[in-house]
């Protein structure tokens, strides 16, 4: 670079650099190379580096930003800025200099709002002043001073010896520490109640501005929120001892803390006061502080506002007052209401006399070992809700006031009394109360006195010591609470004191201590048996009720403990030594579970000689499937339901004296002693409705016993078992003529006599028909109602004989015909013809859509309410009266189509032409001769011509209808006109077959060189199957059978040895659709060694002749 190359661009760069250097030179005047600056007022040293500042705010700000730094004044500083500190941890070293805010607007010198600041002075006394102003006012010098230092709640300031301030202000929770020697020239005031909290172990002594003290002190426990302390210096004051004058410390102003006394001193050597008690503060952390007080009240006053043991950070947990032995103490009300503290007032054998009461509204107070007297009308101890009072070994000195209670439960506090004498107490039911000892002349309590006692305690007569039941207690009973020494156990619990036995050992299933039976709560399997883990008794009964399960070794105990709805399951065979009574139960179940209950009987219900009846209900089942047996007895009030699932569960003995016994299953064993009935109880009484007894001999079922034969006379001679079974009312005697079931005596509404002559009774006409209906005649035995649709389907052909009775049309069901079924309804004149003149079947008859049914009415005594036809099937009516009749409006059928030949519908005497009518009311079918026809219908009544007059040349002789031969009968004739359309003997069949060639593979041949013989394995025919198809073009069905006659031992088999191929679909005499079926053939045996003829398959064809029930009609 030379002058020639000095360009404009370079000039600009030089100017910029000059400006930067000029600005840098200004900074350099502050930040010299060694950290010194001209006119420096302070310097900050941090981590060995010192930087000087020409203004204090910057220096303090730099120190605030540098943890552990020290800002040191280098000169006296007068500034108009209030310096705020919000954080950091640093030291301000006044260095013997003065820092003063001279601004009347900013006023304060240093405000510490956060962080931790130590103010010290290392080189003589350092001063920090807020704004000070002094003026003359009419010859009087006046001044105002403003804070040198303010310490806020979140700040920590430590001021050391050598520092002087004009004013110091501390927030209520400020962390302020003042070392002895600190001088405050004008005022130290605080937001807190006193300045005592900032001067722990120290005090303030008056002095001049230079710290020269005079013998005056400032009381620390005064309020200095506004009051001036004046010029003071901080001094050490670790103890008031030696400074107490008239009970008050002349240094700190606090009352004497008797710190110079011990717990054995009666007189405080400092204040001469009489010491009444020792107060010990304890924390959970182990800190303890022992203090002496002249009374309880000063002790409580000392605690006021204290949560921590002074000098520690440990919370006060327990405060124990212990009176000096032999000292009586008087007091007004004593209030213990610190919820977080447990107070103990140990009277230590002394007397406490109260003009008021000890009040408890929160926390816990224990008072013990002394005498308490109170003049308060409510008594010595008044407990409020939330307070807990414990009294031990207290004697309440009754002053004779009748309304004076030793303990007064104001609104449900907690009271525990363990010993002592208390006169009258007033206790409420709310809150917790527990009396475990003590003597009382009166216990006023509105609840169950038993609730007051601790478990194991009882009330005893205060004089005689006799036991007093809790339910005999009243407010005037003088009692002593004593330990129960004579337990009366029930279920392991003493009924006197509530003591619960722990049952340490058992013998024979009972506790050796209290005699309570073992509850068998834990069981274990040992071999095939179940044992109690606790008492080792064998378990015989498992009781369940919902999810609750319990075990018993004694069935009597199990019965006694069983709640309603329980099931007792027998786990092993049991022989009862004594009768067990099932009583007071609305229903328990005994599950025999395949086991036997023998010996004495299990009795259901009971009655004593005076006729007092005890009810009991027992249901017996057998979950094992029929291996159980039991002996039972039913007495007055007893209800036995014997309901095992099968017939093999045995009643070995059944004695019935009264009550009710119903047998739904199982069996009564044979033998004259197995069933004994007394007091007019009959065998029929054992049967539930619809049940009958069947005889079983040697386990083989015999006949049902006729109901009329169930007489007690026959019991003695009975040797066979009796099995109750639900009667199906089937197979009634052929000469049955009654109205009740022969076997179970149930009243029938109808009977069904089937086509093969069997008779079954119906309890519910519709339901029983739908379950058991078959071809035959149903005859009504009484007026009835259809509980559901009575459906005739699946081709059933049945007669419904109304027999002069009525099927109520208002029932929910109706007759329902479908599926090619046929119902013929017949009637009979009623015995009360003036009431109902016909046998009304007031039911809908729906001809179901699942294949048409056919309705027939055989006489004029049958009347229908509403009849609906969705199809008429083969219905051809000659009789009947209809309140309403209607046809499916969507089908081409009319009411006249229902008519048989020679009939018509009449409404009264008027003939109604129903040719195009689908809905009509109140009509009767009566004879009518059709004379003229038009379009195949009678021109008068509309009935279709039945073509009964014969055909000539395919034309009806009556109506001229030309037959179209739509149906052909089994003889090949037209179903309508009988014209021979087909030769029924004509058979037309096609038979085709696949190539009938089969392969045979010879077995492997092996030469035996020793025996010189050739052995061969068996050969194999290929398993190809050849198909033979038969196609039938005949009118009739054809049966094809297949045979194979093999040559040289050849064998063959067919997939199907015979086929029946249905007849072809005919159009007139022409087959329009043939039917086919096929079989397969394969060679299965024999062997060949060359190509040869294997045999002959013969297909044998024969027509299948129509059956007797098949008219062979087929539609074209």
């Amino acid at each position: 670079m030379n002058g020639k190359n000095f360009t404009v661009k370079n000039k600009t760069l030089s100017l910029a650099l000059a400006l930067i250097m000029l600005f840098g030179a200004l900074r350099v005047s502050v930040l010299a190379a060694d950290g010194t600056v001209e006119n420096a007022v302070a310097q900050v040293t941090s981590n060995g580096t010192t930087v000087q500042y020409d203004n204090l705010p910057d220096a303090v700000a730099a120190a605030e930003a540098a943890e552990g730094s020290t800002v040191k004044l280098l000169t006296d500083v007068k500034i108009s800025t209030r310096i705020n500190v919000n954080g950091g941890n640093f030291t301000i070293d006044l260095n013997g200099k003065t820092w003063e805010n001279t601004s009347s607007s900013t006023l304060f010198a240093l405000d510490v709002y956060g962080g931790r600041v130590t103010v010290t002075s290392t080189n003589g006394m350092g001063t920090i002043y807020g704004y000070n102003i002094t003026w003359e006012d009419w010859g009087e010098t006046k001044s105002e001073h403003y804070n040198a230092v303010i310490v806020a709640d979140d700040a920590a300031v430590h001021v050391t010896n050598g520092v002087r301030m004009n004013m110091l202000y501390a927030y209520k929770s400020a962390d302020l520490t003042l070392d002895p020697g600190v001088i405050i020239t004008n005022n130290f005031f605080t937001q807190a109640d006193t300045i005592e909290q900032f001067l722990s172990g120290k005090a303030l002594q008056r002095c001049d501005e230079n710290g020269n003290t005079v013998n005056e002190y400032v009381p620390l426990n005064d309020s200095y929120e506004t009051q001036d302390t004046g010029c003071v210096t901080v001094i050490d004051h670790s103890t008031c001892s030696g400074h107490v004058v008239n009970g008050v410390c002349e240094v700190c102003g606090n009352a004497c803390d008797h710190s110079g006394a011990t717990s054995s001193d009666v007189i405080c050597s400092d204040c001469n006061a009489t010491l009444a008690l020792t107060m010990t503060l304890k924390s959970n952390g182990g800190s303890t502080l022992v203090l002496q007080f002249t009374g309880i009240t000063p002790g409580l006053a000392y605690l006021k506002g204290k949560s921590f043991i002074p000098g520690t950070n440990e919370r006060i947990e327990t405060v124990e007052f212990k009176l000096r032995s032999g000292i009586s103490l008087t007091s007004d009300n004593l209030i213990f209401d610190d919820a977080g503290v447990c107070f103990i007032l140990d009277l230590n054998g002394s007397a406490l006399t109260l003009s008021g009461s000890i009040l408890m509204s929160s926390g816990e107070l224990t008072v013990c070992n002394g005498t308490v007297d109170s003049e308060d009308v409510f008594g010595a101890f008044r407990v409020y809700s939330g307070g807990t009072l414990r009294l031990e070994n207290i004697t309440y000195a009754d002053t004779g006031n009748a309304e004076n209670y030793s303990v007064y439960d104001n609104d449900g506090g907690n009271v525990f009394i363990t010993s002592g004498s208390y006169g009258s107490v007033w206790l409420l039911t709310s809150g917790t109360k527990e009396l475990s000892g003590g003597t009382f002349t009166e216990i006023h309590f509105g609840g169950d006195y038993g609730q007051l006692l601790k478990k194991g305690r009882v009330y005893t007569d205060a004089t005689t010591g006799a036991y007093i039941p809790a339910d005999s207690m009243n407010s005037s009973t003088a009692v002593k609470i004593a330990e129960c020494t004579d337990h009366t156990m029930s279920g392991g619990i003493c009924t006197k004191c509530g003591f619960a036995c722990s049952h340490p050992s058992y013998e024979n299933g009972k506790c050796t201590i209290c005699g309570s039976p073992c509850l068998h709560e834990e069981v274990e399997i040992d071999g095939d048996a179940l044992f109690c883990k606790v008492c080792h008794q064998q378990i015989v009964i498992k009781a369940t009720n919902g999810d609750a399960v319990s075990y018993y070794s004694d069935i009597a105990v199990a019965e006694k403990n069983a709640s309603d709805g329980s099931t007792l399951t027998l786990i092993k065979n049991v022989s009862l030594e004594n009768k067990v009574f099932v009583t007071n139960k609305n229903g328990i179940t005994l599950d025999l579970n395949g086991n036997s209950l023998s010996g004495e009987a299990l009795c259901v219900g009971n009655s004593d000689s005076e006729g007092n009846v005890t009810e009991g209900t027992l249901t017996v089942v057998d979950g094992s499937g029929g291996k159980g047996s039991v002996g039972l007895e039913v007495r007055n009030g007893g209800t036995l339901v014997f309901k095992p699932d099968n017939i093999y569960t045995k009643i070995t003995e059944l004695d019935i004296y009264g009550g009710s016994a119903k047998l739904y299953g199982g069996r009564i064993c044979g033998g004259k002693n197995s069933l004994k009935l007394y007091n007019n109880v009959g065998m029929v009484d054992l049967l539930p409705d619809g049940y009958a007894f069947r005889v079983y001999s040697e386990d083989q079922p015999g006949d049902l016993l006729c109901y009329s034969d169930l007489k007690n006379d026959n019991i003695e001679s009975r040797s066979a078992d009796l099995v109750p079974e639900q009667c199906g009312h089937a197979n009634l005697p052929l000469d049955f003529s009654g109205e009740n079931c022969t076997y179970c005596n149930v009243a029938f509404v109808a009977i069904l006599k089937t086509a093969d002559g069997k008779i079954r009774g119906f309890e519910d006409l519709a339901k029983d028909w739908n379950s058991f209906g078959e071809n035959g005649t149903v005859t009504l035995l009484q007026d009835t109602v259809l509980s559901e649709n009575m459906t005739f389907t699946n081709g059933v052909d049945c007669i419904l004989d109304l027999n002069g009775y009525v099927i109520d049309p208002d029932g929910p069901g109706k007759l329902f015909l479908e599926g090619n079924s046929k119902l013929s309804v017949k009637g009979r004149e009623r015995e009360d013809p003036y009431v109902i003149s016909e046998n009304w079947v007031r039911c809908d008859v729906h001809i179901g859509e699942n294949g048409a049914g056919t309705l027939d009415i055989t006489d004029d005594l049958v009347a229908f309410s509403v009849v609906y036809f969705s199809d008429i099937g083969n219905t051809q009516l000659k009789h009947g009266t209809f309140a309403h009749i209607y046809m499916d409006e969507n089908k081409d059928i009319f009411i006249s189509d229902l008519l048989a030949d020679g009939c018509a519908f009449f409404s009264g005497a008027k003939l109604i032409n129903m040719a195009s009518v689908r809905d009509y009311s109140a009509v009767t079918i009566e004879p009518h001769t059709h004379k003229t026809f038009e379009d195949g219908r009678c021109t008068v009544c509309g009935a279709k011509c039945k073509h009964t007059s014969g055909f000539t040349d395919d034309k009806c002789n009556a109506c001229g209808y030309v037959c179209t031969h739509e149906k052909i009968d089994g003889d090949g004739k037209c179903s309508m006109c009988s014209k021979q359309l087909l030769d029924p003997a004509l058979i037309s069949v096609d038979i085709t077959w696949e190539e009938m060639s089969f392969s045979y593979n010879e077995g492997k041949k092996t030469w035996d060189p020793i025996g010189h013989s050739l052995s061969a394995e068996d050969g194999i025919w290929d398993q190809t199957e050849k198909t033979i198809t038969v196609t039938n073009k005949s009118y009739r069905a054809v049966k094809a059978e297949f045979f194979f006659n093999g040559t040289d031992g050849i064998e063959g088999t067919f997939g199907k040895a015979s086929l029946t191929v249905e007849g072809a679909t005919m159009d007139g005499a022409t087959a329009v659709k043939s039917e086919s079926d096929a079989t397969s053939f394969k060679i299965t045996g024999g062997a060949i060694d060359k190509k040869q003829y294997l045999g002959t398959i013969t297909v044998k064809v024969a027509a299948v002749l129509p059956s007797k029930d098949d008219d062979g009609k087929k539609e074209g």
Binding site: V989, W993, M996, I1097, V1101, A1102, A1103
Partner: protein, 181 residues
Amino acid sequence: MSNTNTEEKKDKKRKILIIILIVGIILCLAVAIWALFFRDTNDRLAPDYAPGVSESNATPVDGDGSKLDVPDGGGGISIEYVSSVTVDLSDNKASFEYTHPAKSTQNIVLQIVVKDTVIAQSGLIAPGNKLKELPLLKGAAKKLSAGTYTDAQFKILSYDPESGEKAMVDTVAQITVTVQE
């Protein structure tokens, strides 16, 4: 004298034996000749190959020209018949209705069998022919008596029209034979 008598007796015995032998030989020959030439066995065996003579009583029937749908190498016959057959002993023939439709793929021989006895058998019938009568086999009439036989069949033997080999599948159709004198 005694020797002469003894010789004479021996001669007589020889003559008697010779006569007996001659008579026996004649009887044997007679039986053999009857058995070979005159005995009617009644068992008409199905020929393994189609007979060379067509049935003279068969008359053609019309067909629609179609054939049965038969698998390759297989065969098929269509049979149409009336299951009642009448035998008139007076003119020694059976009358019936049997059609061997043209759609069949096999030639057939029709037998009428009564109680396992063939009473009539046709010659070869090609597809498309109808047969209404057959003469009774010789001697058949003597085994029948007036009345109705339900144990009777048409036995239809099928033959390959080209090779003449008998098919493996025969058909038997149940019929009723009414015999009239």
